[in-house]
């Protein structure tokens, strides 16, 4: 099957979109990338004219912001409550940083956009937050490699998420620091990264962020969370897995 695949740098990260076997794949691709540009322009804390930046400076009230921004703020609050504060869009500086939820949410929205354009076989990967649908160019189910943290360009684990969403949270994300809500300092954790497979990429992303902030308790949280499986890499070059994770390691 023919496929169209392109990577662009948007929102400060590589975003790869691959569309398989669709009639107007090129047009769909452009629409998806335009969508990510729009999200960046709205939510980026690095862009002074974004709505979030203006809200942080007090120049724009949340009630006057766009629907998307209001939605994200509400979703952040809900996630904060659901995770006992471990997901928190408030930074120690007193500003709002919704990036822990926007990334996964935007990938999910992009996936919805692709479905609405008649594309049902695709893979959207924004900085490691992934949503797949249907089959790849070989006609088989999509495969996702979890990057090996110590061996450059090597894979530590392969997963086959099917229609589920995949997200990875970790300490060494450029410009993103995950804070412990109790100490307001970078979280102390035995994990270098935590990869979650959840019902969709939006949910996987927000819970990966929260679970990572919980330090060593994070994997227990995921184990007990129905519908989510996790794979956490430790400083000792071992991986901790939840009991249902092996469901995704065979195609």
């Amino acid at each position: 099957m023919q496929s169209l695949k392109e990577t662009r740098s948007i929102m400060g990260m590589p975003i790869t979109v691959e569309i398989v076997g669709a009639q107007s794949a090129q047009m769909a691709l452009e629409k998806v990338f335009s969508y990510f540009m729009k999200v960046d322009g709205t939510f980026s804390t690095y862009k002074p004219e974004s709505e979030v930046s203006r809200i942080n400076r007090g120049e724009l009230l949340l009630v006057n912001a766009s629907k998307d921004v209001q939605y994200i703020y509400a979703a952040s609050e809900e996630t904060c409550e659901a995770t006992n504060g471990y997901f928190n869009h408030n930074t120690p500086k007193g500003t709002i940083d919704p990036s822990g939820i926007v990334k996964g949410w935007s990938v999910q929205q992009a996936a919805k956009l692709l479905h609405s354009l008649g594309c049902d076989n695709f893979c959207v990967d924004a900085g490691g937050d992934i949503q797949t649908s249907g089959t790849n160019t070989a006609g088989t189910t999509w495969s996702v490699g979890i990057r090996h943290p110590f061996e450059t360009d090597k894979i530590a684990k392969v997963v086959y998420p099917y229609e589920k969403g995949v997200a990875t949270s970790g300490t060494y994300l450029r410009g993103e620091h995950i804070y412990d809500p109790n100490t307001n300092k970078p979280v102390v954790t035995p994990f270098i990264s935590m990869t979650l497979i959840g019902p969709n990429v939006y949910d996987a992303d927000r819970f990966a962020t929260a679970a990572f902030a919980m330090g060593e308790h994070g994997m227990r949280f995921i184990e007990e969370l129905s519908g989510y499986e996790g794979y956490a890499i430790t400083h000792e070059a071992r991986a901790l897995v939840t009991s249902g994770f092996s469901h995704y390691t065979t195609p």
């Binding site: 990260m13 790869t16 659901a82 006992n84 471990y86 893979c123 990967d125 490691g128 992934i130 797949t132 790849n136 999509w142 495969s143 996702v144 490699g145 990057r147 090996h148 943290p149 110590f150 061996e151 090597k154 894979i155 530590a156 684990k157 392969v158 997200a167 990875t168 970790g170 060494y172 994300l173 450029r174 620091h177 412990d180 109790n182 970078p186 102390v188 954790t189 035995p190 270098i192 990869t195 929260a210 919980m214 060593e216 308790h217 227990r220 949280f221 184990e223 007990e224 969370l225 129905s226 890499i233 430790t234 400083h235 000792e236 070059a237 071992r238 991986a239 901790l240 897995v241 009991s243």
Partner: protein
């Protein structure tokens, strides 16, 4: 008289039924009912090294070492464990895989970037990187499997290997910061 008796038996039986029936959970399944661990640090299991003037020293003990249990002897304790029930000690042949690096502990250069200050330390064992930690984040030195007060499921752990399967896309640590990469590289260079 008979009727009174049978009525009171009925009510007693009903009362017993009401009192002792297993309550059905009314809580709906879903995210909202999961209570994440309350943010209390349980310190009696974690062994964190003392920080001395900005640097954190590694504990020399390997935390994966378990206490040796005497083989084939029945230890007399308050509860005597029958030998038959105790798992037999299997002396497995140790297969030592050698990687390309020289064993030891190496600290990379401290890298200051706009976002962070990073200094990476690696431990090489059997020629492979077995531990990576990053300062100023505190080095975590415990692999606690159970925490006092919680009946947590013990999660399965496996060694990190390199998988060679074909993959369509990658998740994880793609955003490793330049500062981290640079410091890690300088540590790895020393181990070469």
């Amino acid at each position: 008289m008979n009727r009174l008796l049978s009525t009171s038996i009925f009510f007693s039986a009903f009362a017993v039924y009401v009192i002792f029936r297993t309550p059905t959970s009314a809580a709906p399944l879903g995210v909202a009912t999961i209570i994440p661990p309350s943010p209390v640090v349980v310190s009696n299991v974690l062994s964190t090294p003392k920080a001395t003037s900005g640097t954190v020293t590694f504990s020399a003990t390997q935390n994966t070492k378990k206490k040796k249990a005497p083989a084939n002897t029945t230890r007399v304790t308050q509860k005597t464990i029958p030998t038959a029930a105790m798992p037999k000690r299997v002396h497995a042949k140790k297969v030592v895989q050698r990687g390309p690096y020289v064993d030891g502990t190496y600290t990379g250069r401290r890298i200051d970037s706009y976002y962070e200050t990073v200094q990476v330390r690696i431990v090489v064992k059997n020629g492979m990187i077995s531990k990576v930690s990053s300062l100023p984040y505190q080095i975590y030195n415990g692999t606690s499997q159970a925490i006092a007060g919680y009946a947590i499921p013990i999660l399965r752990s496996e060694a990190l290997t390199i998988q060679n399967a074909d993959i369509n896309t990658i998740s994880g640590a793609t955003e490793v910061s330049n500062a981290f990469r640079t410091s890690l590289a300088s540590a790895v260079l020393q181990a070469a």
